[in-house]
Subunit: 225 residues, 2 copies
Amino acid sequence: MSKILIVDDEDKIRDIIKKYATFDGYEVEEASGGLEAVSKCREKEYDIIILDIMMPDLDGFSVCKEIRKKTNTPVIMLSARGEEYDKIHGFEVGIDDYVVKPFSPKELMMRVAAILKRTSAPSTESIEVGGIKIDFSARIVYVDGVKTDLTPKEYDLLFYFAKNKGIALTREKLISNVWGYDFYGDDRTLDTHIKLLRKNLGKYNTYIVTLRGVGYRFEENTPEE
Amino acid sequence: MSKILIVDDEDKIRDIIKKYATFDGYEVEEASGGLEAVSKCREKEYDIIILDIMMPDLDGFSVCKEIRKKTNTPVIMLSARGEEYDKIHGFEVGIDDYVVKPFSPKELMMRVAAILKRTSAPSTESIEVGGIKIDFSARIVYVDGVKTDLTPKEYDLLFYFAKNKGIALTREKLISNVWGYDFYGDDRTLDTHIKLLRKNLGKYNTYIVTLRGVGYRFEENTPEE
DNA sequence: AATCGGTGTGATGAAGTTTTGAAAATTTTT
DNA sequence: AAAAATTTTCAAAACTTCATCACACCGATT
C-alpha cells in the first residue's frame, strides 16, 4: 500500500487530508513543518508527498528542492495563493501537480491516485533475495540469472515468502494467504508444494527453513557447497 | 520532437494553444471535433492530446474513452465548467490532468511539459520485436519483412502486446484494453484470438507466452530449440 | 534405542486451464 | 441483397497443475 507524507503547518488541514487518505487505504505520515518533512524523507521513502507552500520554517519550494536532491518522489503542492507565478515556479522545481486552497479533498485524492498510477506503472518491480530474483511485472523468477519456470502455486508461494522474508510463517498463515482462507485440505498439500518450490530453487533450497511444529521461514543464508 | 493533438471546436482556442506549442517546439496537429480527433488517433500516434470537454459532435470524455481502447496517450482535458463532477469524471476515464477555462496558455504548456517528462515514452512510428515489425502509422505488420494481413482485432491485440512487451498481462487486462472495459463476452474469445494471432505470427508464435491461470506475456525469445 | 508426532517424497487420478476446430452470428464489402 | 470477411460462441480434446495418499524419514522425548 502506498505511503503518503502530508506536510502542512495547520493541524486542521492535515487532519482532513489524513482522514480521506486513510479512508482510501493509504498509509499516512505527517510533518508539521518543512524541516521535519525533509528529515522524514531522509529516513524513509514515500510514494507521494503532499506539500503546503507556506510554512513558517521552510517553504514548500525549498523542501521540494531538497527532496529532489535524493529522490524523485512525486510531489503535490498546496498553494494558498492562486497566482500563476507560484504554479510555474512549482513546476520548475519539479512538482507533479498542485491544488489551490481551499481545495476539495476528493479532488486532491483523485490527483494523488492519478499520479501514483502514472509513476508506479513503468517501474519494473522486483525483489532480489540472494541469487533469486522475482520480477513481479513479468512474473518471472530467475535463479542465478537463469529463468526458472514455476507453476502458479509455486510462484504464489515464493511471492508470499519473498514479501515476508525473515519472518516465521505458520502453516495456517501460509495456507490461508496462498491458497485462500477457505481452503480445507490435506495436511501434506503445503509440504508437497514446499518440496516442489525447493526443487526449483536449486541450491537455494535452504532458503526455505523448516520450523518444526510451526511452519516455515524464508531467509537468505549460505547454501552448503 | 513531441507531437501534440489539439482538440477543440473553437478556432480561437486552438490557435492560441498552437501558437504557444509551436513556440515551444512541438509538432502540432488540430482537430475541430471529437469524431475528427478519434479518427486522427486511429491513423497516427501522438505524444499528448489536449482535449476540450464540450464539443458539438462527440464530447471529450467519449473521445478519451475511445482513444484509451487503443493507446495510452496522455490526455489533458480542457474544462469550461469548473465543477468538481467533471474533474473527477475525467480522472476516472483515465485522463492525466485537466485545466479549467479560462486558462493561462503558459500554465497549460507547463503541464504538458510535466506530463511528457514523466511519460517520456519515445514517440515511435513503429516497434520492432524480434522479426516482427509493427508500423503504427500504416497499421501494417511485417513478419521477417513480409507484409502480413491481420484482422483489426488481431492487430489491436498484437499492438497492445507490443506496447507491453515483457509484462505479464492478465486476461482481464487484455480484454478490457483490447475489447474495451465494457465487453461482456465469452471466456474463450480471447483464447481464440490468441490462436489466430499466433497462426499469423508464424514461427514467432512462441513470442506469446501462456501464463497458466494468469494470462499471457509477449516477449522476444528464441523460437525452436 | 524405541517411540511418536510432525515433515519430506513419489506416484496418481482428479480438477482445472488452455488449445483447437467448427459453426453461428455479426459486420463489412461487393 | 448477396457474398465475403471477421468476430464470437461453443464443446471436445489436449494439456498442466494440484490435492491426496501411503509410506519413508527425521528429531525430540522418554
